[in-house]
Structures are given as C-alpha cells and as structure tokens.
C-alpha cells in the first residue's frame, strides 16, 4: 500500500470515533470564538508566507500589488507575526503529536494502488494549486469558511461548503484511478 515502511515502530492505532473527534474539534473552535472572537483558518497563513517570500525577492513588485500589500501590512509588527501563521504552526505540532501518540508518523506516500508515485505527485501539485486559487476566491478554505462559517451560520460559508462537496463528488469519477 504505502511505499516506505522501514521506520514502523508499532502498528498504527485505529482512528478516533469521528463523532468524538468532531466534538473535540468543535470545542477547539468554540474556544477560539470565546477567547479570540474569531474562528480557525489555514489558507491565510499560506498567503502571508507567500507575500513575505515575494517581498524578499521583489519588494517593489510586492508593495505595488494590493493583494500582497494587504498581507504585508497585517500582523503584529511583521506579516508573519499573524494569528493564522501561529495557528498553522500549532497545527503542525498538534498533528505531529497525535500521530506520534498513535504510531502514525511515517514517511510515506498516500495513493491508490493503480497510480505511480510520480503520478500522485503531479495530481497533488495540481490539486494544491486549485485549492490555493479556490481558497483565495472564497476567502477561506474548509477550516475557515466551512467549519467556522458553518458554525456561525454564515450564508456564504454554507454556500461554500455545499459547493465543496459538489465539486468533490462531481470530480470523483474522473479521479478514481488515483484512489481506488
């Protein structure tokens, strides 16, 4: 199934009951509402990092584009000292922690049996690019718009969420060779 198993230390633990995991996630989201008055997110951190990278290479160009400039002028003194950037760092740590506890940290490539690793990488890149574009248009991704917007009963969030499922199911047949 996966390509590299030389560092399996023990069999991975089964996943948590999805309802319990969902309650946990929901409580984290609720905590964010109560403490910060805002919800979760992910794509914004990518944008901040991208803006900073462009600014480092071509500052005049970055400052001249209002999209990048917006990210460059956010944050507590520095565009990377921003809520989402720190939250995303936390996601990396939390994900790693959970994986470590469950014996699920392993260098591997997730893919179906009928596609090569190279093919998987190609689709991963394309999929990521589509995600990046879609997330910017929608002002958020599943974490921000669907989860947060959904819990807050935001009309745009719910519309977005339904379209995500529509898109995923709609394109599933075309991508079956990658996964099934």
């Amino acid at each position: 199934m996966s390509s590299d198993s030389h560092d399996v230390r023990r069999a991975p633990a089964p996943y948590m009951n999805p309802y319990l995991a969902g309650i946990g996630l929901g409580l984290v989201l609720l905590g964010s509402f109560v403490v910060m008055g805002r919800g979760l997110g992910a794509s914004g951190a990518f944008s901040s990092a991208c803006a900073v990278a462009i600014d480092a290479v071509a500052p005049a160009h970055a400052q001249g584009n209002p999209f990048w400039r917006d990210y460059l002028t956010s944050g507590v003194g520095h565009p990377l000292k921003e809520f989402l950037v720190f939250e995303v760092l936390g996601v990396l740590v939390g994900g790693f922690l959970s994986g470590l506890l469950a014996g699920r940290v392993r260098r591997t490539v997730e893919k179906g049996p009928r596609i090569s690793i190279g093919g998987r990488f190609a689709w991963a890149f394309v999929g990521g690019a589509l995600m990046g574009i879609g997330a910017k248009l929608a002002r958020g991704c599943t974490s921000g718009q669907a989860l947060t917007g959904g819990a807050l009963l935001s009309a745009g969030g719910w519309a977005f969420m339904m379209m995500v499922f529509a898109g995923g199911y709609g394109a599933a047949w075309m991508m079956r060779r990658q996964w099934l």
């Binding site: 409580l27 939250e87 995303v88 996601v91 990396l92 939390g94 990488f121 599943t142 669907a146």
Partner: protein
C-alpha cells in the same frame, strides 16, 4: 459579559499569537485523531466508502454552533463581537467548486495537508507546494479580476437573516439535518461496502 476575551482587552496582540499557537495545536491534534492526515481516508468520502469527513465536520459545526448559541443566550459571550466573514456569494460558489475539485484531485485541503505533512506524507509536501503556486498565481492576477472577486458582497449575512427565521429555529434545523445526515451516511457506507469498522473503537 466580557467574552470574546481578546476583544474586551483581556490580553494583547502578542499574547494572542500564543493563543493562536495553542488553538492550532488542538486543531491539528483532533484532525489527526480523526485520521485526516491520510489522503486516502479523506478521499474515501467522495466514493461513499468512509463518511468520516462529513461526520467530523458536521459534528464540529454542531458542537461549536450549539456552544456559542448557549453561551450567548446566557449573556457570557457577545455574539456581535465574534467575527463572521462577509459573504461574497459568487466568488465563494466558484471558489468552493474549485476547492472541492482540488480536494479530490490533490487529496487534501490546506489544513489537513499540514497534518499530513507533520506525519510524514510526502505527497502532502507536494500538495503544499501546489497551494503556494496557486496562491501566487491568483495573487498576481488579483488586481485585474477584482471585478469578479469583489462582486456580490452581501456583507455579514447569516442564515437566520436570509431565511427570515429565528436563530434558535435555524440551529434546531441544522442539528436535525446533521443527525439525519449521519444516519444517511451510515446507510451509504454500508451500501458501498465501506471499511467503516476500522475507525470506531
């Protein structure tokens, strides 16, 4: 009422970054617990083999929604100070569609790709690179497409406002929809002979 605490000045901007980090840890932890660090588990949703994505997402939404409603109802949280993104209807519809396609093509979404990256998935690394590429591309052309990207800005708009229903009723309907959906998800899974038994302890 003095919550949301940050908005009432309980702590400052610098401290809020620490809070963000802690919140992120919780977020990433539960995403991985649910198995969302695995593209195969995530995409199984779209083949009706494993409805965990639907279950986790809607349970989280219902939990946070109910929690916030009750805290606001007893006056402990000022709901008007909780930030709701403005609704840009058409960009969000198109963006959602692209995101859904990107999900099944790439195997992750931005949040889950980070969890997958943290647990060693190389394809997640490539996916993240793709996200940067996509953001770069759209950022560069953004000024010339603002006609679309800024269109249909309906401002802060909630379902109760759209449906002209009291919020409590909408909350109740969402709960019913979710519970009904969970039951239906189970039916679909069994029909598509899913390996659903794996995820329940």
């Amino acid at each position: 009422m003095n919550a949301p605490f940050f908005k009432f000045g309980l702590f400052g901007d610098e401290a809020s970054l620490i809070v963000a980090f802690v919140i992120g840890i919780g977020f990433g932890f539960f995403l991985e617990r649910a198995g969302f660090g695995s593209a195969k588990k995530l995409t199984d949703q779209f083949y009706f083999r494993d409805m965990a994505v639907f279950r986790v997402m809607f349970t989280a939404i219902v939990t946070a929604m109910l929690g916030l409603f009750y805290l606001a109802a007893v006056g402990w949280v000022d709901l008007s100070l909780v930030y709701i993104q403005p609704t840009y209807l058409w960009p969000q519809i198109v963006g959602g569609l692209l995101l859904g396609i990107g999900f099944i093509v790439g195997g992750y979404c931005p949040g889950t790709s980070l969890v997958a990256l943290a647990t060693g998935k190389l394809d997640a690394l490539v996916f993240v690179a793709g996200v940067f590429a996509g953001i770069f591309a759209i950022g560069e052309v953004w000024p010339s497409i603002t006609g679309f990207t800024e269109s249909s800005n309906l401002g802060r708009l909630t379902l109760p406002e759209v449906l002209h229903l009291p919020m409590g009723l909408v909350v109740f309907l969402v709960v019913l929809m979710a519970v009904g959906g969970f039951w239906g998800a189970g039916v679909l899974e069994r029909r598509f002979a899913a390996s659903a038994a794996k995820e329940e302890k």
